[in-house]
Amino acid sequence: MTTTSAGPHVHGLGEPYKRKEDARFIRGKGNYVDDIQLPGMLYADIVRSPYAHALIKSIDISKALQVPGVVAVITGKDLEAAGLAWMPTLSGDSEAVLAVDRVLYQMQEVAFVVAESRYAAADGAAAVEVDYEPLPVVVDPHKALAPDAPLLRPDKKDRQPTNQIYHWETGDRAATDAAFAEAEQNGVVVRQDMYVPRIHPAPIETCGCVADYNAATGKLTVWMTSQAPHAHRTLFAIVSGLPEHRIRVISPDVGGGFGNKVPIYPGYVCAVVAALKTGRPVKWIEDRTENLTSTGFARDYHIHAEIAADKEGTVKALRVYTLADHGAFDAAAQPTKFPAGLFHICTGSYDFKHAHVAVDAVHTNKAPGGIAYRCSFRVTEASYLIERMMDTLAREVGKDPAEIRLQNFIKPEAFPYRSALGWTYDSGNYERALRLAMEKIGYEELRREQAEKRARGELMGIGISSFTEIVGAGPGKHFDIAGIQMFDSCEIRVHPTGKVLARIGVQTQGQGHETTFAQIIAAELGISPDDVDVEHGDTDTAPYGLGTYASRSTPVGGAATAVAARKIRDKARKIAAYLLEVGEEDLEWEPGRFYVRGSPSKGKTIQEIAFAAYTNCPPYLEPGLEAVNYYDPPNLTYPFGSYICVVDIDRGTGEVHIRRFLAVDDCGTVINPMIVEGQIHGGLTQGLAPALYEQLAYDENGNVLGSNFQDYLIPTAMETPRWETARTVTPSPHHPIGAKGVGESPTVGAPQAIANAVVDALAHVGVRHIDIPITPWKVWAILKEKGLATA
């Protein structure tokens, strides 16, 4: 793709063009769901269970109805009468909208109160009296499988008689076992248990909606915090029975999603029911505690991993067993054919000949979820385990962690590479990325410094993560959400004066789509991104799409945009040929203009062509200049990178100080390097979070111990180190512009770089693994045990 020639400078691909959307954000003119005010609007609050597991004996709403301002109270029995007490989850389970006879996790929704003000709604919710009979609580997923464990889901005991949701396997078990048997005899086998804890995306804007039903037209409009408005509209239609063309979902500005805004939550459904019941618009907005405790969590994988290798440390086989805690309902947001998402990427960047993975998923008395928090469906868990295991293998065979990686990388000439678990990696050059990272950070010098410090009794560690991601779902025949195939779309209208409106099926939550997608069109048509407005998020106007998550916007929606723009250009060529009275084959394209080969001065700009499309169109063509593309990608894309982290550990406090963190990312073709840089900074911070701070912990009674930002520690500017970044470019061979997607790479790649650095600092005293989050207390306890603590 070239943007250099005689044509106008168009700020196409590779240009750090300032974000168009920031003009409204920095002026405070963004429009979030909670900014929406409608005449006569009511406000909602939800009565939630204090118990993690209990029977509901009775619900008394009489006092709540007497609270001044309260208009209605909806209970599970009311919903049951309307056939709406249960809703389908994205994983084929049924989730209670409002609990009818039992609650299965703390903060589960029990009643929905609507009132004239938010305050009256809260007072009304406090006045609802629920009589519970507590039941034994299952917090530990291992105990959920015990024969005497209480059955948490009697509602589906006919098809699922225990707390086990599924057992899933992939790979070749016999070949893997044989490779392990061989390694036990003649090579090495390393094993490690690790827990990737339950965390929460914690977007700054919590979830919420405004539901408005117009009885005269029969049209329901729902403004909601949605990462997938079209899919949500279809699900609303299926669940409610309302005709889909009379449902309009609008996802306005969204203040961060990270996967949290992919599922449908009970509050949305209740707001719709309340709007239908009261005939007035109803607004429901979560508070922080509700968001952290009841909406989609991420991770919660208990992993046992094993590598078989030869004595030199060349890997042969990978064997993984995982126990997945899905909480009370199986509401994991992932493509329906993949119960453990894309956990298959756990062979990572390494050339394993054999692999076998088994996952058991269970119910516990915890909030439902299992969403892909800034990762493409369990890729973070997979990448964490393989990068931790490669370090473990390096220790076992006495090699440097960099050396063991260089020795085992999939070689550049092996692409497209088919992994032992059956996935075809599109392109990669892992050695180049790691060598660049080592050079930039001064790896050899750091190792010398570490040795000197170790001799002086100081604790310094260097951690590497050479991750490979798998993003950009579809293709549609393999990937679907509730049966809807994961293509995506773009519709482009070129107006007579050459200005462009583009509407896309993906939806931004801060990623900068309005700029990035404008730049794709700018590059294809040779016009300024300023002349391209990008709209999204309104199901009445945007073409159907599956939404933004799993880093799929650029790989899928971006491809649709490039292809739609090329359709525009193809038609423009026909019009230009007509205007210039030459054959199409006699025309040359330069950004923004077709000209006659051999006579560069004789040409037509895209603006002139657009005007002609409406004023002087060739008689054999349809007037107008519009195009739409629904793009079904032929394969996923495989971004990768190599991160190196340097830590110092305080022997007095156990505190881990990140001295340096260098991230080399390769996301293929870069559209806007400034936006990519911003994505990497944010993603690295969200990768730092689970490494050192975040965990949604539960006590033995099922109380959530991370229900607010005092107890659930998200890193702020104070905790975040200065990120150093660098880049290699390995385009995707199957993407129209070679882009792979970048939003999630740093969240996927960063935690294990930090964990590996901490373990590296303590490896000389025999430490092989520390579960994240690596808190000062955990480190201090190890220092104490090893006689290294100075206090």
């Binding site: 204090p50 118990y51 505690t289």
Partner: protein
């Protein structure tokens, strides 16, 4: 959470027992006590407000005494709720006469706290419970021991 303790009270065992038998007197010593209503034999409704860190909650408690063995053993159970929170308490108490004017009270309590108050106040629960227990026994001693305010 499980708690236990041992207190020596400078009062004869029958006087201590008589005090503990009188729910109104015990209630007066309960920190945050607001009201008590008789629901039936050995069955009361008590309203108590507690604060744990920044969270304040008014609990309505259903209180029973399922086991009584005069003059040395008593079991108290309570289940209560506040908006967004719930609590279950079980207390087991043994009295032993150390001598004619001294009584030792050995007690154990099991407390299960659920909901907002447990979630938000988790790190403060243990400390708060110990503080409230301390206040209760201080009050008890004031009322029972010589020089205290109680005349019974």
């Amino acid at each position: 959470m499980d708690f236990s303790g041992s207190q020596t009270i400078a009062a004869p065992i029958d006087k201590v027992w008589a005090f503990l038998l009188d729910v109104n007197k015990v209630a007066e010593c309960a920190p945050g006590f607001q009201s008590l209503e008789v629901l039936g034999e050995e069955h009361w409704k008590a309203v108590v407000s507690v604060g744990i860190g920044a969270v304040k909650a008014k609990f309505t408690l259903d209180v029973t005494r399922p086991e009584m063995h005069e003059p040395d053993h008593m079991v108290v159970k309570a289940r209560g709720k506040a908006p967004g929170s719930a609590v279950e308490l079980s207390g087991d108490m043994h009295l032993t006469a150390v001598d004619s004017n001294q009584t030792r009270m050995d007690w154990e309590a099991k407390v299960i706290v659920s909901g907002t108050i447990a979630s938000v106040g988790a790190r403060l629960l243990q400390g708060t419970a110990e503080k409230l227990t301390g206040q209760f026994f201080a009050c008890l001693k004031t009322k029972l021991e010589p020089g205290g305010t109680s005349q019974s």
